[in-house]
C-alpha cells in the first residue's frame, strides 16, 4: 500500500507544469464504443499536432493533448478529470452523456469550461444558467427539429396525418428528443410513435416488427454503438425505405452503415459538420502529421465522419483559444480566459476558409446568453456503392420557436434545483 502510493505520487509529481496549452482528451479506445471513440480521439489529437508542427502551437504556445482513457465509463471519467485538471486543462470534451453530466457541476465549480459538442445536456445552451458549459454548434433538440424540417421539405411543407416513429436508445441520451418531437407534432400534426431499445440493442426484432406492422412514414433514430448497426440491418431486412430513415449525428458514421452493406444505401443522417477529406487543410495534415509519422492511433481513420468531428472539435477549441488570447492579450491563457474566449467565439465562412476548411461547419456565434450557437444542421445520405456520405442539404436552421421555450424551462428547473441564480 505504501509502496503503491509512493509510486503513484512519484508518477504524478513527474508530470511537467503549465508551460503549454493543455487540451485533455477523454477518449475511449476500448470498451463497447471503441469503434466510435477511436476516430474522434485521433482527429482531435491530429489537429493539435498539426498546429504544433506547422504553426508552432496556438499563438506561439505549443498545445499539449493529454489523453486519458475512460472506456465510456463514468467513474473512470471522474478519475481522468481529477488527474488532468491540475495540469491546467483549458477545456474538456467528455464525449459521453454520463461524464458530461458529471462534469457540469464539477467543472463549473472549478471554473473550467466544458464543450459538449452535439451531446450532453441540451439546456446547457442557456449560458445564463450553465456558465461553463458550451454545446455549440447544435444540440439534440435542434437535431430533432432538423429531422422534422427535412421531412417537411420532402413533403412540400405538409406532414399532418403522417406517422413518425422514433427508435431510441433507452437512456438519458435517447430520451432527449422526445419532448421536442412531441411539441413539434402538436405544431405540424404528425403522429409520434415511440420505440425504445434497451441497452445494448443487439436484439431489435420487436421494434422493427412494430415498424413493419404499423408502417410509419418516417423513422428517426437516436442510437449509439451496436444499436445503430442492428437497427440499420433490421430496417434493410424488412425492406423499409431507407430514404425515410433518418438518424441523429451519432447514428451516422461509416461504422454504422458498413456492416449492412448495400442494404444501407440511401440511409440519411444529420450532421453539423462537413464530410470527406477534400479540404486544403488535409494536405497540411498529410504533410506535417501523417507523412511525418506523427498521426495519433493507427492513422487509418483520416477523413471518416467521426475523425472529422474530432478534428472539428479541436478546430473550435483552437479558435476559441485564439479568441481568448486576443481578448486577454496574453498567449498563455488560463481556463477562465478560455471560457471567455469560447463565449466570444464567432465562426464565419471567411475564418474557416482561411483555416483551409471552407464550408466545413455552419456559421455561428456564441454569446453569454447563448452557449449553443445558432443550431444549424444539415442532412447527409449514404451511398453504399461509392461507400461515401454526401451532404444533400445546406446548413439549415432549427425551429427556435419551439426549442427556445423548452431550453428556458429545462434550464430554469435545473437552476431552481441546484440553487443557481441565472445571470450574465
Amino acid at each position: 500500500m505504501k509502496l503503491l502510493s509512493m509510486t503513484v505520487a512519484a508518477v504524478m509529481a513527474a508530470s511537467p507544469v503549465m508551460a503549454d496549452l493543455v487540451f485533455p482528451s477523454l477518449s475511449y479506445r476500448t470498451g463497447p464504443y471503441a469503434a466510435n471513440g477511436i476516430p474522434f480521439a485521433d482527429g482531435y489529437e491530429d489537429y493539435f499536432t498539426l498546429l504544433n508542427e506547422r504553426d508552432g502551437g496556438i499563438g506561439g504556445v505549443p498545445a499539449r493533448v493529454l489523453e486519458c482513457e475512460t472506456g465510456y465509463n463514468t467513474e473512470k471519467g471522474v478519475e481522468c478529470y481529477e488527474a488532468t485538471k491540475g495540469e491546467g486543462a483549458l477545456v474538456y470534451q467528455p464525449l459521453s452523456t454520463g461524464i458530461t453530466y458529471q462534469l457540469i457541476p464539477k467543472a463549473t465549480a472549478d471554473g473550467i469550461p466544458v464543450h459538449s459538442m452535439g451531446y450532453g445536456r441540451t439546456s446547457a445552451k442557456n449560458g445564463a444558467v450553465f456558465s461553463n458549459i458550451f454545446n455549440y454548434p447544435a444540440n439534440y433538440w435542434d437535431g430533432a427539429s432538423h429531422a422534422v424540417n427535412h421531412i417537411l421539405d420532402v413533403n412540400g411543407g405538409d406532414i399532418s396525418g403522417k406517422k413518425i416513429a422514433l427508435v431510441y436508445h433507452n437512456s438519458a441520451y435517447g430520451k432527449e428528443p422526445i419532448r421536442t418531437l412531441e411539441e413539434l407534432s402538436k405544431k405540424h400534426g404528425y403522429e409520434l410513435m415511440l420505440l425504445p431499445v434497451d441497452h445494448p440493442g443487439q436484439e431489435q426484432k420487436s421494434q422493427w416488427l412494430q415498424v413493419r406492422q404499423q408502417r410509419p412514414d418516417y423513422v428517426l433514430m437516436w442510437g449509439w454503438g451496436v444499436m445503430n448497426q442492428v437497427a440499420i440491418q433490421e430496417a434493410a431486412n424488412i425492406r423499409y425505405n431507407m430514404e425515410n430513415f433518418i438518424g441523429i449525428w451519432w447514428s451516422g458514421s461509416e461504422n454504422d452503415v458498413l456492416p449492412a452493406g448495400d442494404g444501407a444505401d440511401g440511409y440519411k443522417a444529420l450532421t453539423f459538420h462537413n464530410i470527406g477529406s477534400e479540404y486544403p487543410l488535409y494536405d497540411d495534415l498529410q504533410k506535417y502529421v501523417i507523412d511525418a509519422g506523427k498521426a495519433a492511433g493507427a492513422g487509418d481513420q483520416v477523413g471518416t465522419v467521426l475523425y472529422n468531428r474530432g478534428m472539428y472539435a479541436a478546430m473550435l477549441a483552437a479558435e476559441a483559444a485564439k479568441t481568448a488570447q486576443k481578448i486577454s492579450g496574453t498567449a498563455e491563457i488560463t481556463p477562465a480566459m478560455m471560457r471567455a474566449g469560447m463565449e466570444a467565439l464567432e465562426m464565419t465562412e471567411a475564418k474557416m476558409a482561411a483555416l483551409g476548411l471552407p464550408n466545413f461547419g455552419p456559421e455561428f456565434s456564441v454569446s453569454c446568453e447563448n452557449h449553443g450557437g445558432n443550431g444549424l444542421g444539415a442532412v447527409k445520405q449514404w451511398d453504399a456503392s461509392a461507400g461515401a456520405w454526401n451532404l444533400i442539404t445546406g446548413y439549415e436552421a432549427s425551429d427556435q420557436d419551439v426549442i427556445g421555450p423548452l431550453v428556458e424551462a429545462d434550464s430554469a428547473a435545473f437552476a431552481a434545483e441546484s440553487g443557481i441564480t441565472p445571470g450574465c
Partner: protein
C-alpha cells in the same frame, strides 16, 4: 383474420427464431457446466473472440499489429491475402482448441475441487483477459462478417403468407439458417455423445468424476475436449450474431441473453437449452408486443429474467434440470 392476431403470429414466429439464437449461446454454457461444473461466464467473450479471429483470418489481418507497430515503429496491418470462409473457420477452430488447452492448463487444472463460485469468478477473470487479448490482437473497430449466409426477408414465406392471409410474414433468412445450423449442431452433439468413444467418456465424466477417473478416463483430456466443443459452439454463435450486427465488442454481451435461458432450461440439459431458448424468445417478444406499449416498452431485458424466475419458483431446478436431492 384480424390484424392483431396476424401480427401476434408474426411476432411469435420471430420470437421462436430469436429463441434459437439465444439457445445457441446457452448451449456452450450447458456443455461446460455439465462436464466440469464450471459456470462459464466467458462464453460470450469466447463468441466475440472466435468471431474476431475468424474475420481477422479471412481478411488477412496481422495479429497484434497495433502492439508490434507501437513497439517496433513498423507499419504493418495486413498480410494482403484473403482466406476462404471454410478454411478460415477451420483455422479459427485450431485457435479455439489451443485456447481450450491453455484455459485447462493454466487455470482450471489448478482449481480442481474448488467451490463453484470461485470457478465462476475465474471465468470472469478469463473474460477480462480474452477481451483485452482480442482487442490487442485484432483491433477494436467494427468488422463486417460475411461467410456467405443469406440475409434479409424470406421472399417465399412473405408471398405464401400474403396469399393465405393478406399479410406477408417477415422471417429473416439469417434466422432460418441459424435454425438449421442449430439443429445440425444439436444432432451432431447428440451423435457425438452417443456413438463415439470420446463422447461416451464425456457423458461418464458428466455423471461422476471419480467413477470416470477410476475406469481410466483422462479428466484432463475430457475437459480440453469439452472446452474445445464449447469454443466451436461459441464460434457458431459468434458467426450468427456477428452477421447481424458486425463483429464488435458488444458481441460479448450476448451472454446476458443466454442466462435466463439457462435458468429456465436447467444448467445441465441440452434439450433444456433449446426449449428454454424458444420459450424465452417467444415470451419476451409477445410480452413486448402485447404489454410493452402499455408500460412504455423496452421490457425485453428484464422480462426474460422475470419469466425464468416465475418458472423457477415452481421448478427450482429448471425445466429439464436434474432433480435436486438434498441430504444432510
Amino acid at each position: 383474420m384480424p390484424d392483431q392476431l396476424l401480427f401476434a403470429m408474426e411476432v411469435t414466429l420471430n420470437g421462436l427464431m430469436a429463441g434459437v439464437l439465444y439457445a445457441l449461446v446457452a448451449l456452450g454454457f450447458v456443455l461446460i457446466f455439465k462436464a466440469s461444473g464450471i459456470f462459464n461466464y466467458a462464453q460470450g467473450v469466447m463468441a466475440l473472440f472466435a468471431a474476431l479471429t475468424l474475420v481477422g483470418i479471412m481478411e488477412g489481418q496481422v495479429p497484434f499489429a497495433h502492439l508490434i507497430n507501437a513497439i517496433f515503429g513498423t507499419e504493418i496491418h495486413h498480410f494482403g491475402w484473403h482466406v476462404p470462409a471454410l478454411l478460415a473457420i477451420i483455422l479459427t477452430m485450431v485457435v479455439m482448441v489451443a485456447l481450450a488447452w491453455a484455459v485447462q492448463r493454466f487455470i482450471f487444472r489448478h482449481l480442481v475441487n474448488q467451490e463453484p463460485i470461485l470457478l465462476f469468478m475465474a471465468t470472469i477473470g478469463l473474460a477480462f483477459v480474452l477481451e483485452g487479448v482480442g482487442d490487442i490482437m485484432w483491433g477494436a473497430d467494427i468488422k463486417k462478417l460475411d461467410v456467405g449466409l443469406p440475409q434479409g426477408i424470406n421472399e417465399w414465406i412473405d408471398i405464401t403468407t400474403f396469399e393465405a392471409f393478406g399479410y406477408g410474414f417477415f422471417i429473416d433468412n439469417l434466422d432460418i439458417s441459424a435454425t438449421i445450423v442449430a439443429m445440425i449442431l444439436v444432432a451432431a452433439l447428440i451423435a457425438f455423445s452417443q456413438y463415439t468413444k470420446q463422447g461416451r467418456a464425456l457423458r461418464a465424466v458428466a455423471d461422476d468424476h471419480q467413477a470416470a477417473l477410476s475406469v481410466g478416463i483422462s479428466l484432463n483430456f475430457i475437459w480440453i475436449l469439452v472446452w474445445s466443443i464449447a469454443g466451436f459452439v461459441a464460434l457458431v454463435a459468434g458467426i450468427m450474431w456477428g452477421a447481424k450486427s458486425g463483429v464488435q465488442f458488444s458481441l460479448s454481451l450476448i451472454a446476458l441473453k443466454a442466462l435466463p435461458v439457462l435458468m429456465l432450461g436447467g444448467f445441465t440439459s441440452i434439450p433444456g437449452a433449446i426449449v428454454g431458448g424458444l420459450i424465452i424468445g417467444v415470451g419476451e417478444k409477445l410480452f413486448e408486443f402485447l404489454i410493452g406499449p402499455m408500460v412504455g416498452g423496452a421490457t425485453e431485458n428484464w422480462f426474460a429474467y422475470v419469466l425464468a424466475l416465475l418458472f423457477l419458483v415452481f421448478r427450482p431446478q429448471g425445466l429439464f434440470g436434474e432433480k435436486i436431492i438434498e441430504r444432510v
